[in-house]
């Protein structure tokens, strides 16, 4: 190329637009591989960026077919030819894919192939611009893998997990949660609580969410009933604020555990406690008109309450005017226990029956007097058998020995 030594401004423009300057541009770029191919795909020109990215020097690669940059499987499938054909057809072809360096190492590339035509429209070759994206690709791959791992963990968890946004819409749910609601994950994501649950239930959940989002504090151990298509479940939920990277609250993350089993177990235990309590305070009819209730163990408010109710029911049931309440098995009597007993006696009287308190041990007698508890008005005896005698007296009955009837 000949250059004009003295340039006018017009010719300066000509100089800048000349092929030399263009070459300067191409030579100066090292981030991109800018390669020219002939119409058949052989390498015609090579820039420093191409050398850096693909590893070949100019002398090594010029004249070679550009398919050597592709992985063997791609070559087998005829990918390079297809790309050229696409470039011819559409003017350009853009792609991301694996390419091979001189040393055999593969890298992820972003490639644009443009068909170059002269003024007459005849194909003169191709311009191929390649950018290495391995770093980005690696990051994306990592994120994808992490996401998959996270999803696997989420789905494997028996805990029901969900993310909701500020409008009570499910952003993401895990398998357990979706299943509990009888839907697929895809069905639930994007829907609001109101789309899925009855209004009142959805409102309740919403209340908790609003609280969490406005206070920025987690709400833990929320125990509630959850109606599912399989029936009623008892669940325990923890709701925590869902924050973005800046720390703003953008929704709620929920962890819900099915505690139906636990609740059922609790109920069973409660039922058993009640049964034990009933067993330990039986009210037995020992004779027509006489019931006996031996109290064993200490009496707390709840136990006395239940005892009183049961005693009264039995008295009415059996139509018994006398109830022997035996406290031999009660270790200590404090003011409160005594008060409960007095209350029980008063209630029995209202029915039209009366209590005889039996089994009053010396220690109990002492305690009662020392506490200043007035049990006068209640018939008391130290033993159950003595109490039975009182009962017979009240019922106007008499025990007669057979041998005495001579």
């Amino acid at each position: 190329m000949r250059r004009e030594p003295k340039a006018t401004s017009k010719s300066k423009a000509t100089v800048l637009g000349s092929e030399d300057s263009f070459r300067m541009l191409v030579e100066g770029v090292t981030d991109y591989a800018i390669v020219m191919l002939d119409p058949e795909g052989h390498v015609v020109s090579w820039n420093p960026g191409a050398e850096r990215i693909k590893g070949y020097t100019r002398d090594e690669i010029v004249g070679k077919h550009f398919s050597c940059f592709y992985p063997p499987e791609a070559i087998k499938r005829g990918v390079p030819e297809k790309e050229l054909k696409a470039a011819i057809k559409h003017g350009r072809f853009e792609d991301e894919g694996w390419r091979v360096r001189k040393d055999g190492k593969q890298f992820w590339a972003s490639v644009v192939i443009s068909a170059l035509r002269d003024k007459a429209g005849k194909l003169r070759g191709f311009a191929k611009v390649t950018r290495e994206l391995t770093e980005r690709r690696r990051n994306e791959e990592q994120i994808r893998i992490l996401n998959e791992q996270q999803q696997t963990i989420l789905d494997a968890s028996p805990t029901m997990i969900f993310y909701k946004d500020r409008e009570n819409r499910f952003i993401r749910v895990n398998e357990s949660f979706a299943r509990a609601n009888g839907r697929s994950k895809e069905e639930m994501e994007g829907k609001t609580c109101w789309d899925i649950y009855p209004r009142e239930t959805a409102d309740n959940y919403w209340q908790d969410d609003k609280e969490v989002m406005s206070t920025g504090q987690p709400k833990l151990d929320i125990v509630e009933r959850m109606e599912t298509h399989k029936g009623t479940m008892y669940v325990q939920s923890d709701k925590i604020p869902y924050r973005d990277l800046e720390g703003n609250v953008i929704g709620v993350i929920g962890f819900t555990l099915d505690i139906t089993g636990r609740k059922q177990a609790e109920e069973r235990i409660q039922q058993q406690s009640r049964e034990i309590m009933e067993l330990s305070t039986p009210v037995m009819q020992v004779w027509q008109g006489v019931v006996v209730a031996p109290l064993i163990g200490s009496l707390d408010s709840q136990r006395t309450q239940q005892f009183m109710e049961r005693l009264l029911d039995r008295i009415v049931e059996t139509n018994s005017p006398v109830a022997l309440v035996d406290i031999m098995g009660v270790p200590t009597v404090d003011t409160q226990t005594a008060q409960h007993l007095i209350e029980t006696v008063a209630a029995v009287r209202l029915l039209g029956a009366q209590v005889v308190l039996t089994g009053v041990r010396p220690a109990i007698a002492q305690t009662l007097v020392h506490l200043g508890i007035d049990l006068s008005g209640i018939i008391t005896r130290s033993s159950l058998s003595a109490g039975l005698l009182v009962a017979f007296e009240v019922l106007n009955l008499q025990v007669v020995s057979k041998s005495a009837s001579r």
Binding site: I222, V223, E224, Y234, E267, Q270, E309
Partner: protein
Amino acid sequence: MNDLQQGEFPIESENDIVSARRLVRNAAVAAGFGLTDVTRIVTAASELTRNIYVHAKSGVMRWRFLKSESKVGLELTFEDSGLGIPNVAKAMEAGYSTGNGLGMGLPGAKRLTDEMTVHSEVGKGTTVVVRKWLTK
């Protein structure tokens, strides 16, 4: 607008006492209370409604189902614009079995229910709120 979950009932005449009892009975039964607890709640309501009628001549009773995590309950509110109670603490002290009737309202109702709050202002009126929880 009265459904079974909540409602209100004006107390204006002697007849309203028994009507209030019936309403409360229905509500308590619907809430799932057992017979003895129903009796307790209804009797407490009778006492507190009577208080309104006797001391203030008119007022209102409200009822409301309560839901809290794992238990349900019933809340009754008794409100009047009567003379008010000068010393609530003293009124609550009224002894066990001292009465032959009147004045058993507050302490009695307290014994029959789980929670009770009394707000009263002399010259303005009184509001009594009682709650009973169903344990199970």
